[in-house]
Subunit: 599 residues, 2 copies
């Protein structure tokens, strides 16, 4: 449907580009906060291309148009771009030119490259403006330009902000701000543009992005003041009283850049060039010494306090119990020949989850992917083309919830019936990988690059790998993906690696994906805890927050070492101990006992 | 003996400092090539302090003197500094101030910090000069200043250089220079100050540093020329003909800085600020655009060609056979009550090794350390205080040779008799760690930070760690320690991590050290090889070059997984297959068969 309008929209854009003497227009799928998911207002690349991917760079010249996205979206983007005249550029595929390379090749002296700098990171903005300069071309900020053609652009999302009581957050915003100022270590100001960081710091929550309980906002923390920029429509009387009590100066969201422009700073201004947008960077570099450091708020937020931990444990127990009930139901329903589809299975789970006390919303749209569909990362089941589950093969279900007690995330791959030898081998290796990381002990100082080997070694031994990270940080009543910790073996030079600290909550989600056949992922959420300090140093370990059986119907002990079997049995014993008291139904109880039996 | 002169030498230095208006004199144990070991001429810190450590920074003010060294040398340095008035500063110990901190605290405006900039790395030179500037003080290069008081300074080492034929190197220097120019990627010049890099590139060898077959030299490679700076006394008629044939312009070693000063460069000059000295850096930054990159020669040198590999395999087989004969001898001799000391054991091994065809010298002084002595890194047995070996506990022997076929390095820890339960456990864990890395399979792109987890995981699981790297690169008829690859879990921000490539030769040497009790290390040398390329990517693995039994008398299978036992048995089967044909003596043969039996 949408695609029909794309050529018209591109024509309108090119006409506006011509009027403004813009030779190349660059757009990204980001918002000014570098959110992973964005509100409809910021879906400029989707408006112009029809492509719904959330990692897009779109480049438009008078004659051509290119859209870059990553491997998760190659299949969907190809469908969406069909007939638009936009060339799909598959990031990382051999022989595929980068946006930088296309610009270096085509930009001519005297031409102009234009972009909304508020939706580019400082790092990519610097890169593109350097390329323009090296070609003798200009680089122009064109915030608002898109409004000339996007006349029915949606409004900015807006919902009243919520204030979380200290009993929920475990620390007042006053305490957090004091700790932040200590970590600012003499800097005159810290500019906060990431929405989850501001929500965490000020103990606020919003509803402006689906699944992410955040409010559109900017923040500037100085030694004396906390400036919060938020839409007037999101303020309530309670919020105004709270802001006044906490000496938070509230400004309109739209006033952020103008107010920042007016401010003067007596010392260096801290920000993180990995997340701050290029408009902020450009504005500040003319008036202040920039101190580009990993965000101290991100580091504070990652280490959960005692309240956050005890509530999260509760959230994970109830969420795990619901998942167990779902596993019981779906294995039986499919075996009994009931008609269950990918989407109806997800709906069943979503409904169970919604009945948990304190449920707010899903923490991301449930992924329910059967057989070869599970080999596609970010597969989205469609109600128009229902996929009926058969009593064979694997169903992969990745899901989670937002609760007043925390944010959950869990993946289980379920054997619906007959499996091949290779399926059982792969499933067993993934289970061994998951459990090897879960039970790892390691010295303080390790980062995710050291730890990833625990999970990948069992797969690597058989020439298998998977193309996503093994672990991401998880927010507390916040985004299901957060940093700074990250478990991945790849070296990323631009991003500093975070050392694991007790109190960090991280996912443990190895997988094996065979294109056109099946996909397996086993994801439990793990908490980093203090271990013992020995004469050799201080050690840490993980403990699981997720308690749900790993499907024994798909385990082949022939592919496990005795240590792997011991780990699986120990984990299952713990699942039984934690979850059995939470189940009421006898059939469910009996199933759980069987599903967690020692092998 | 030496210590008697230290106060006199310091007094003479301070008097000269006073005349030259130097407030702080800084010296390091390096030479201008940042060699790990240096010739006597460069032992300035030893002359001034009596301290023989090879990682020293010495700072002298009119009133005080401080010497920094690392944990390997705390015990020996404390002895050597006793009575000198120099304060030992233990690097990394809690509460111990750094040299930077002492200078920041004490340097006053108008004062002068002086150092021989040719013996500081560019990175540390920049740091110290920035500190001086921040204090309002000056930073002065004082090359030659030490000669005012060190009147009996030894001459620079000098030995005729040797030319290695292509049959030994596997690649002519012409081929290597052509490849290097390709990697220089348009840079106007590459400055080479590391001795082993120049020896590798030009297929030369020297004898100017004990155990390191290198000649003192500097090199500058441009698109048209190769400039080699070497002492006239090292040139032979053969060398001159070789240089002429290969269009190498030869200059006196002493003329390096003056010639570099005279040169002009039409483009960027490549160098590695981690290894180039500060004098070179200062000279170049005024006249050229510096391109600070990891050395392309180091990357070339690390990947051994087919000739280097086949000759190294031969060297390791013969070296391993000699080690096996030593293991047979020492276990029997100590059991039979013969008087064997740490030093006589080392001498026995050194003599066996010297009889191998093509033997040049040891690749480092043999470490022979009994019981608690083995818990001290870099322990050096003393002939004056002989330690007699008893039929109990562990002897650790770390040794290697330089041959015309390659450079070897190997450590075995030998059970001389009764062991405690803890000793057997620790020994078994170290064996499991060594074999886990040796048998690792991993995707292309891994660095030593990913791989170290293979070795450390079995130790970490029991709260054990060791304070040295698990692996270093090894030269070919060159230094026993080389880069760029390195197996260590620690993050070092200043040093880029090298990806493992097929053809790299690396050590695999986990250990456990219990202070005052014993030390265990098992070191085999491993070659990185191509594994299969699967649908999941390109994989690599290691294969051993070292074939010597891991002492089964100290193995307790209770601490091994079945996979560990399988690895040990497979390794021992290979040891037997490779070494048995190389032994002549029946008793030795029978012992090897027993020592490599499957458990």
């Amino acid at each position: 449907m949408k695609n029909i309008n794309i050529p018209e929209r591109l024509a309108a854009l090119r006409s506006a580009m011509d009027e403004e003497q813009i030779s190349f227009f660059l757009a990204s799928s980001s918002d000014p906060h570098m959110s992973e998911y964005v509100g409809d207002y910021f879906k400029v690349t989707e408006y112009l291309s029809g492509c719904t991917s959330d990692n897009v760079v779109l480049l438009i010249s008078p004659e051509e148009a290119w859209l870059w996205t990553d491997g998760r979206y190659f299949i969907s983007a190809a469908k969406e771009l069909s007939g638009t005249g936009i060339t799909l550029m598959k990031i990382g595929e051999p022989g595929v030119e980068t946006a930088e390379s296309v610009l270096r090749r085509l930009l001519k002296a005297g031409q102009t490259l234009a972009a909304d700098t508020s939706c580019l990171t400082a790092l990519s903005g610097m890169l593109f403006s350097r390329i323009a300069a090296s070609c003798g071309a200009g680089f122009r900020d064109c915030r608002g330009f898109i409004d000339r053609i996007w006349t029915d652009r949606p409004l900015l999302s807006s919902h009243p902000v919520q204030i979380l009581p200290d009993a929920v957050t475990g620390a007042s915003c006053e305490t957090k701000i004091a700790e932040l100022r200590r970590r600012m270590n003499g800097a005159a100001a810290l500019v906060i543009t990431k929405l989850d960081e501001l929500m965490y710091l000020l103990n606020l929550r919003g509803r402006d992005i689906a699944c992410n309980p955040v409010a559109l906002s900017f923040g500037i923390v100085t030694a004396e003041n906390v400036h919060l920029f938020i839409q007037d429509s999101e303020r309530t009387a309670e919020f105004d009283a709270y802001a006044a009590a906490n000496r938070i100066t509230v400004h309109p969201y739209e006033a952020f850049f103008a107010e920042l422009q007016k401010m003067t700073f007596e010392g260096p201004v801290m920000l993180d060039a990995n997340s701050v947008n290029f408009a902020v960077w450009n504005l500040l570099r003319e008036k202040a010494k920039i101190q580009n450091v990993p965000s101290p708020v991100s580091a504070m937020k990652a280490v959960k306090n005692a309240t956050e931990l005890s509530r999260s444990r509760e959230a994970y127990l109830l969420d795990s119990a619901v998942l167990c009930r779902f596993l019981f139901w779906i294995k039986r329903a499919v075996k009994d020949g009931e008609t269950v589809t990918e989407t109806s299975a997800a709906a069943y789970l979503d409904k169970l989850r919604s009945e948990i006390p304190g449920y707010i919303e899903l923490s991301f749209p449930t992924i329910s992917a059967y057989e070869e569909n599970a080999a596609m990362a970010h597969y989205s089941a469609s109600e128009e083309h229902p996929v009926v589950l058969k009593p064979e093969g694997f169903l992969l279900v990745d899901s989670g919830g937002q609760y007043l007690t925390g944010t959950t995330d869990v993946t289980r791959t379920i054997a619906l019936g007959a499996l091949t030898e290779e399926m059982r081998r792969d499933f067993t290796l993934v289970a061994a990988a998951n459990l090897a990381l879960l039970t790892a002990r390691f010295p303080y100082g390790c980062t995710g690059r050291n730890l990833d080997t625990f999970a990948r070694a069992p797969l690597w031994a058989r020439g298998i790998d998977f193309n996503h990270g093994t672990g991401h940080g998880i927010g507390y009543i916040l985004n299901v993906h957060e940093g700074p910790q990250n478990i991945s073996w790849h070296m990323v030079r631009t991003r500093p690696e975070a050392v694991f600290e007790p109190g960090m909550i991280t996912s443990d989600e190895p997988g094996i994906y065979r294109e056109g056949e099946y996909g397996i992922r086993t994801e439990s959420i793990i908490l980093c805890e203090e271990d013992e300090t020995t004469p050799f140093g201080r050690f840490l370990h993980f403990t699981p927050l997720t308690f749900a059986p790993i499907d024994l119907d798909a385990i082949d002990p022939a592919y496990m070492e005795p240590a792997d079997i011991a780990r699986l049995n120990a984990y299952h014993a713990e699942v039984r101990k934690q979850i059995l008291p939470l189940l009421a139904d006898e059939a469910e109880k009996n199933w759980l006992i069987e599903a967690t039996r020692a092998i």
